[in-house]
């Protein structure tokens, strides 16, 4: 029996130039202006945040655009206790699903400026933007923080259905 060949080098490198798409481009450009640009479905009236240019429920183009937020409500959250390679924030920290005011869907982001164990569903939050010129990226929002407003009630089941 020959010695097993345990490895060969097959260099593979493919570079991609992504196109965000017309709709997502407008959303990302609005982030640079510290705005959340949502889209409304002409058929079911759902307001999407973040938008993708199409209503995944109805399959129609969502061309009407409107500002939503910037404040919102925590509808789901989890506490990350696990350290992992490349982690930029010291655990424990909170990842949350946030429904911006005026939106029917949720976006995901971090909750900071509050002890992780105090984050709860119904918590009112607002974005904290990066200093300086924001990039066309979700990272232009550093995190969300509590507004101090009274909690609002969240229907957990409908919140999870999005």
């Amino acid at each position: 029996m020959s010695d097993p060949v345990l490895g060969i080098v097959t260099p593979i490198r493919i570079e991609y130039t992504f196109t965000a798409g017309k709709s997502r481009t407008r959303f990302l450009r609005a982030l640079q202006e510290r705005r959340f640009l949502g889209q409304r479905c002409p058929s079911c009236s759902h307001v999407y945040m973040p938008p993708v240019g199409s209503c995944p429920l109805c399959g129609v183009a969502t061309e009407e655009e409107l500002d939503v937020g910037p404040k919102g409500t925590v509808t789901m959250f989890c506490v990350v206790n696990l350290p992992f390679y490349g982690q930029e924030i010291q655990p424990p920290y909170v990842c949350a699903s946030i429904q911006l005011d005026g939106s029917d869907t949720k976006l995901f982001h971090l909750i900071q400026e509050m002890p992780a164990h105090e984050v709860r569903m119904g918590l009112r939050v607002e974005p904290v933007w990066v200093e300086g010129e924001p990039e066309p990226s979700m990272e232009s929002v550093k995190y969300f923080r509590p507004t101090g407003e009274p909690d609002v009630s969240v229907d957990a089941r409908s919140a999870a259905r999005a």
């Binding site: 493919i14 130039t17 992504f18 798409g21 995944p56 129609v60």
Partner: protein
Amino acid sequence: MRDVAVVAFACSTAARETERSEVEILAPVVREAMAQAGLSVQETGFVCSGSSDYLAGQPFSFVMALDAIGIWPPKMESHVEMDGAWALYEAWVRLQHGDIDSALVYAFGKSSLSSIHEVLTLQLDPYYLAPLGADAISLAALQARALLEGSQYTEADMAEVAARSRRDARSNPMAQVTGDASAEELLAQPYTVSPLREHDCPPVSDGAAAVVLAAGETAKRLCERPAWIRGIDHRVEPQALGVRDLTESSSTLLAAQRAGVFERPVDVAELHAPFTHQELILRDALGLNGGTRINPSGGALVADPVMVTGLIRIGEAAGRIMGGTAKRAVAHATAGPCLQQNLVCVLEASDG
């Protein structure tokens, strides 16, 4: 077998899309096909798509495409990491079960996001071929050389294919490449990878296509002249190029026999030949050297959105029947290097 027909077809204009996302290219195409059929996605019994994550540069990229479709309430859906022609095959099989009467088939792909010829290298044997960096054009050139040396065909025959395809493309608004250069003029151009010149190779295209299939009475209700699928079959050859005779297409021949191509004359054929010499090989395999009109759309040489091109062939062939200009059509789709895998579909009018 249950009678199943193509009742609608739409596709995007092939182009390098620098602004629109896959969803934005696909969505209007699906809407147009559904409008032709007079159906909503919700009314169809099944949805099946073809695409490739290697083109999109992200895993499970077919899932994002569902945003373009509208799949609420949740749909019965499937996907093949293949050209959309194979998605159509799956939908045809699904319709044979008899419990649903219509299906939406679509395909999408953006070849322009990366180097498509390098992406296609990744389908090769990872031990023996991929490390050599053999790209799709070079492999096609090897095949073309084998054909030129092993047959009566010449580079002029290849240029004739290109000249005809480009002329026909002038009346196809979905084409990316058009032209009225003669074969002689094309032959004066330099080689890209000898013996292939630029006109022997496909353009880099982004695009999407959608087909609606319907069975029996539903097809008759949705379409004045349904394009009935009378036979459909696909066959694959070994992966290693060195064990195949690249100058002929045994898998196309067998699929054609199984699909019933040779039973009667064919009015029009849409062949998925991204390279000119491959059309010559396919014509021979399908016995199409007589009165059959070949690729009136211009074929893959004028518009080649990878993962979509084969489905477009079925849509174009069906379109000739739905439009009343043909009674019997053959559509062909290919996948893999050098025509490794081939699908043949026979379409007929009700009085075909």
